[in-house]
Symmetry: C2
Subunit: 299 residues, 2 copies
């Protein structure tokens, strides 16, 4: 079984109090697809400009990511530039150039429309809906989002929520969406908007899944140093969906284990800028952290 | 086996954006002893003034708390008055009257000095040390603290840390103590100050234990509404120590399960002002939440 990933393929220029890294490979689909690639073959749908470095195409290839759905269009690649403060919880967008992503409207190949697992990684909800329109009876559809879309495209997000199985968002976005600061109280209100499963990401504090089996409180893998949290949420949902796509049996049965894999891929993502650390990771590294986390929550 | 609890026995006047409750039973030793009483017989060491309401003495009795070590002195009971903001994470002290606690210097009974489990609940580190000086070969000594003591009595806290088995503090206090914002990085530095076990409380995000078996990531019991978090940390450590004192076998073996009991007693504490909810709880309520939490972390 396999996984379709649609989202942004970007160049990220990231500043922290300690370092500055220009034009790294970034974007929600890049982080998600690389994280998913440890478990399954991801099929990436996205657009890059003619400035997109060849070395990043090679990187996708090295991770076994199918690029049939990656269009190289005339113009600039989506470019995000941001700055983190000392505690890494606050970030500021310095500049955004949408470039070729602005009017990107993909037409999926017949093979892609039949993929069972669909990850609508963070991008404009109209683009997410466009891809979902083309899918034929997917088994499990997950959407991620960000505060920007809740601000400028709320109706489109609400419409999408009625069509997906699982919605992934962070705690401040959950508060923003349903105007409720308490995550536990916000979750039932999000379910009422459509999705059977809701996952609230809480950064270093882990995540909470809500679904038919009740709540699942998932730990984050504890890190002594976070170099750059950009893409951690995408890496989380990518790892989770890659794992799900690789497993037999019901989503219900595998989702918790998938979230733990997502926690682990996200932890690697945080340990260096962009995809620098994640692309050095091997499967035994992931298995080791999964074992460690399993021990850390057992009583 | 049984538990000695020393700390403050106070009257708390608590304001939240929704309600105001004057002169409730409060103080670290009150919250800790009531939480511990679900598992073992706590022996309370503390001081109250002649204004201390008889009904609170009765409350201690109803919970089977031994009051041989509770002195009623001439003067005012320790009184704390504080206010919470909307999100309940920020609180402001409006007024503090130390009263009889200011010069309290207990002399323990011979029976008390031989108790195996010792909880030095949050109070002046000199008072904690005074009690510890009198103990004969305790099996397990835990100390809690608060930001105030790290500010005004840091040398006394540091001295105490060399004499205890386990130190419990919240995440902001951990940062303050070792000047490190990252909890995972702060923990080894706290171990270097003395304690074999370190527990960092993170409120709604649960807690982290560090000890010879590595890290344990413990969940908080998820609550839709927090009425008043005052005393939750005391209730946490009280529940934990009560459970430990009730169990056979090594502390190492029982500590994780104890922390889960502490999470549960703390969750009840948060659901109403002061001890209002905790004093209505029965053992099956605690067992139910422990079962629920067990399911919520299982994958």
């Amino acid at each position: 079984m396999s996984l379709l990933v649609v989202g942004t393929t970007a160049l990220d220029s990231i500043k922290t109090p300690w370092a500055e890294n220009p034009r790294l490979l970034g974007g929600s689909a890049s982080h998600a697809a690389v994280a998913a690639s440890f478990f399954t073959r991801p099929h990436l749908v996205g657009a890059v400009g003619d400035d997109f470095p060849r070395k990043y195409i090679n990187l996708y290839h090295r991770h076994g990511i199918d690029l049939q759905g990656l269009q190289q269009l005339s113009g600039q690649t989506f470019h995000w530039s941001g700055e983190y403060e000392v505690n890494m919880n606050n970030r500021r967008t310095l500049d955004t150039v949408l470039g070729v992503i602005e009017n990107f409207s993909p037409t999926l190949s017949a093979a892609h429309t039949r993929l069972p697992y669909v990850l609508l990684a963070n991008c404009a909800p109209d683009l997410q809906a466009n891809v979902l329109d083309q899918m034929k009876r997917p088994k499990f559809v997950v959407a991620d989002t960000m505060d920007l879309w809740l601000n400028i495209a709320r109706p489109a997000v609400l419409k999408l929520l009625k069509r997906i199985d699982c919605f992934v968002l962070n705690d401040s976005e959950a508060s923003q969406l349903v105007e409720e600061d308490n995550v536990v109280a916000a979750i039932p209100r999000i379910h009422k908007l459509g999705p059977k499963y809701v996952i609230v990401k809480k950064g270093e504090h882990g995540s909470v899944l809500s679904g038919p089996r009740g709540l699942f409180i998932a730990p984050a893998y504890p890190l002594k140093k976070v170099a750059d949290p950009t893409g951690a949420g995408d890496s989380f949902v990518g790892g989770m969906m890659g794992y799900l796509a690789s497993q037999k049996g019901s989503v219900e049965k595998n989702l918790r284990a998938g979230i733990v894999r997502g926690s682990v891929t996200a932890s690697f993502c945080c340990e260096d800028f962009g995809l620098k650390k994640t692309t050095k990771v091997k499967n035994p590294d992931i298995a080791k952290r999964v074992r460690e986390l399993t021990k850390m929550v057992n009583w």
